[in-house]
Subunit: 508 residues, 2 copies
């Protein structure tokens, strides 16, 4: 083994320990959302703060710095060990990038931010329950302040929002996201308008009484089909579905069970499983290094939306699963033909809650948040004006106004977690997925037949070998180029939505 | 505020942080036993090792040492700040004692021991399942070796076992425990013999089919009666019931549900709730200091056995709860009168599994383990000879021989956790409880009437003000003396067993 490889392994071992700590922190967060008794929140917040500080120290400390320096010039970012394999070189560059970012934030800032977020989440929960924005406002003030400070500490060229966006989607700038929305918004608005002139789809049979245990049982059937491994995966229930991968051998997703709604749990499970499958597909031998990490939240979201919408809302998927669904909820769907069911789950109608939005109006929800976040970070929008700004933007984009803040600006957990800059990745994920899907379709022109026969594993395997297995070897746009032979583009997405919903609504 | 109080508060703040880390470690352990996917075990072990090292460093580091030195002379143990309140002085002494113990163990030893235990637990689990002692033996070898080394590092006067016992029961020596067993064993053996000459009690109706959901529902009813607070407590299911208090606002117990057995869950819930009530009763303002800690595992066990046996196997308790039990398991107990039920749950018969043993034979199971542990630590028993030694001792004490190691020397988790020295506290707990109960009875001569009317809170309140609220202000024997006005003695225990079972079996 060459010296460079030895140096790499040493760095990896140090980073692996920091990753172990991160897994601990993720368990604390998972537990907080699933099983922690309510009163445990205050001390939990302190623990999360302590861990944030510890992880920051491990990732910026002398031990890590010395090990990193052997492989790359910290100042210039020039690789020293150029006999390393290309993927390992890419790993070193990603480590260096993270290191620069991490060292630009002082320890006290990292700890204070972690504590503020833990506290804010608790307050947000109550504020949402009581639909009381004033309760949450002082915390949102502090979060916006700290995010602005964070942007300054991290540095940026054009817009402070760039620095925050970079945390979640390293290859994208605010300007580029602006451009993407400028491209998709008119296309979507015109599609929504055409749909609004048709006869509304009846989806009333998707609402009623759907037994909780049967919903969980059906979720497990879906997870089996996706190749979930029960010895390294869990499914639990939480108010807000999420996915958390503690390490390559411990993946946990949660779902929301609403006994009045059939599809809420199903879409959550497919969505979160998509995230988990990505994490499960990362190479375990690179656990703790950038090559064992997801590229970006946009690519992550491309995986979750792939399963939730591209597969989970497709007709072939339900050709296989619909009989099982009917069997699970006897008497509820007996008289509903597959065709009717499939149209119902694809019904398009403006609605208040992002996570429950249909595929077409969904990106408009994201656009709203993106615009508001930019304004908050620029300082052109004050926190106290958030509810009004939200409601008027909602009216403008979707033609509806929420009756309460719980259904409006308090609906999402993200701001209370300090995750400003995160939302655009939700739109990008759909766009990435569409571009990937075109390639997938060209390789597997018979995919519909295979999926209709209940085979999902070839889909998963393709995602695994194309996307998952590379870790952070490539950036998101580079990966898209490699896989699809085309630069990043929103066109496949616009064209997919247009063609799918023209069919469903028999437009033109 | 005086300087001493300020110094105390500073020390407390530092110790509180270490206690937060311990709570994190406890969450990791709780999760491992309840929800962690099976394959998560390996990395979990590394995390537990890292936390053990971190906690050790926090409790022996310069920061802690300097803060402690202000209040007590580390060498001589003389309190410097004698204007501190007496309970705080006791706290400082306990801190000093812990500090001396902690500093006698090198960091590498602490980490290695934690990792070995985490690994051993996983192996033990498989070994028990497959009843294969050879699988576990090499790990037990290493655990015994490390425990012997630990005893040397900790230091002892008479017997290396003293050093290990001291970790769990600071006020007791091996010699004293020997004396206790010498006193109770003949009394119990003679009681068992008398009982064996009577007609066996029919308890067959306690076995059959008892719905899991109904068992859980009844557990919750019991916990409500004990004054469990749902906003700070949990009940989950695990293979081996346990109690874990992450902090004053987060208490978690687990139970085992065996659908073929009615009492297994009930006794587990009452037992673990007893532990949790102790932790819930510790003063929250002293969280992180010795005054917010339990005195010893023996006192802890006195609380769990109090609720499991003294209350939970008493007739007044079931006068109140039996109708609820009958209602929960309709058709199962309708024809069984309370009297018959009460005799059945108090049936005495030699059995293999300690945690399922009746009240009379229970201490013999503990005596067996105590003898074997002493021999292992002395070196007079080799690990390879453990199964034979176990079986012959079982035959000698209880007159039965287990058919498999799973029912024999592999039944308990303790050795795989490195907890050699722990078992005697199980016997001491019963003895402490009996001595306390005599005093309780003298203060509340009408306790049976009140319990029969469904009032358990006055019992809990008495335990709270007598035992829980003091934290580690007093040692176990000192506390017993304070409460009962008598020195520690096994007599109340022997007399309780004699009189109760003479009644139940109509002896003499």
């Amino acid at each position: 083994m060459g010296q460079a490889q030895k140096d790499y392994d040493k760095l990896h071992a140090i980073a692996r320990e920091a990753r172990h700590w991160q897994g601990v922190s993720e368990l604390l967060a998972w537990d907080q959302e699933t099983y922690m008794p309510q009163e445990g929140g205050e001390i939990r917040g302190e623990q999360i703060k302590m861990l944030a500080g510890l992880i920051h120290k491990e990732r910026t400390g002398t031990k890590f710095t010395h090990a990193l320096e052997k492989l790359i010039d910290i100042e210039s970012g020039t690789i020293k060990a150029d006999d390393l394999a290309p993927n390992l070189q890419a790993g070193v560059k990603a480590w260096h990038r993270d290191y620069k970012r991490e060292t630009s934030l002082p320890l006290s800032f990292v700890e204070d931010f972690a504590l503020l977020c833990a506290e804010s989440q608790l307050v947000w929960r109550t504020a949402k329950k009581e639909s009381d924005f004033n309760l949450f406002a002082p915390f949102l003030e502090r979060i916006v302040d700290m995010c602005r400070k964070k942007a300054d500490l991290l540095g940026y060229k054009d817009h402070p929002y760039d620095a925050l966006l970079d945390l979640y989607e390293p290859d994208m700038s605010t300007k580029e996201v602006d451009k993407v929305f400028a491209e998709i918004k008119p296309a979507i608005s015109s599609l929504v308008k055409s749909i609004s002139n048709t006869h509304p789809i009846d989806d009333s049979f998707l609402f009623g009484e759907f037994d909780k245990a049967q919903q969980m049982s059906f979720s497990k059937l879906l997870l089996d089909g996706l190749g979930y491994i029960s010895s390294r995966c869990r499914l639990d229930i939480s108010t807000h579905p999420f996915s958390s991968s503690l390490n390559p051998f411990d993946h946990r997703i949660t779902t929301r069970i609403d006994e009045r709604s059939l599809m809420s749990n199903i879409s959550s499970v497919l969505h979160e499983a998509g995230h988990a499958l990505y994490e499960m597909g990362l190479p375990a031998e690179h656990y703790g290094s950038p090559l064992g990490q997801a590229i970006s939240l946009g690519i992550h979201e491309s995986q979750s939306r792939w399963w939730e919408t591209r597969i989970g809302l497709s007709k072939p998927f339900w050709q296989h699963y619909y009989p099982f669904l009917q069997h699970h909820f006897k008497g509820k769907l007996d008289s509903i033909p597959l065709e009717t069911f499939h149209r119902a789950i694809n019904k398009v109608a403006p609605s208040f809650i992002r996570v429950e939005a249909d595929e077409v109006t969904y990106p408009l929800h994201v656009a709203l948040r993106f615009d508001m976040e930019k304004a908050l970070i620029e300082g052109s929008l004050a926190v106290k004006d958030v509810p009004d700004a939200w409601n008027s933007k909602m009216q403008q984009l979707l033609g509806i106004t929420p009756a309460s803040h719980a259904e409006g600006c308090l609906q999402d957990i993200h701001w209370s977690c300090g995750a400003i800059g995160y939302f655009p990745t939700y739109a990008l994920g759909n766009i990435f997925a569409a571009q990937l899907f075109d390639t997938f379709e060209s390789i597997y022109p018979d995919w519909e037949t295979r999926v209709a026969a209940g085979d999902l594993l070839f889909v998963r395997n393709w995602l695994h070998s194309s996307v998952h297995t590379h870790g952070r070897h490539y950036g998101s746009c580079e990966l898209l180029q490699n896989i699809t032979n085309k630069p990043f583009s929103a066109k496949p997405y616009i064209s997919y939505l247009g063609s799918k919903y023209t069919g469903i609504y028999e437009l033109e």
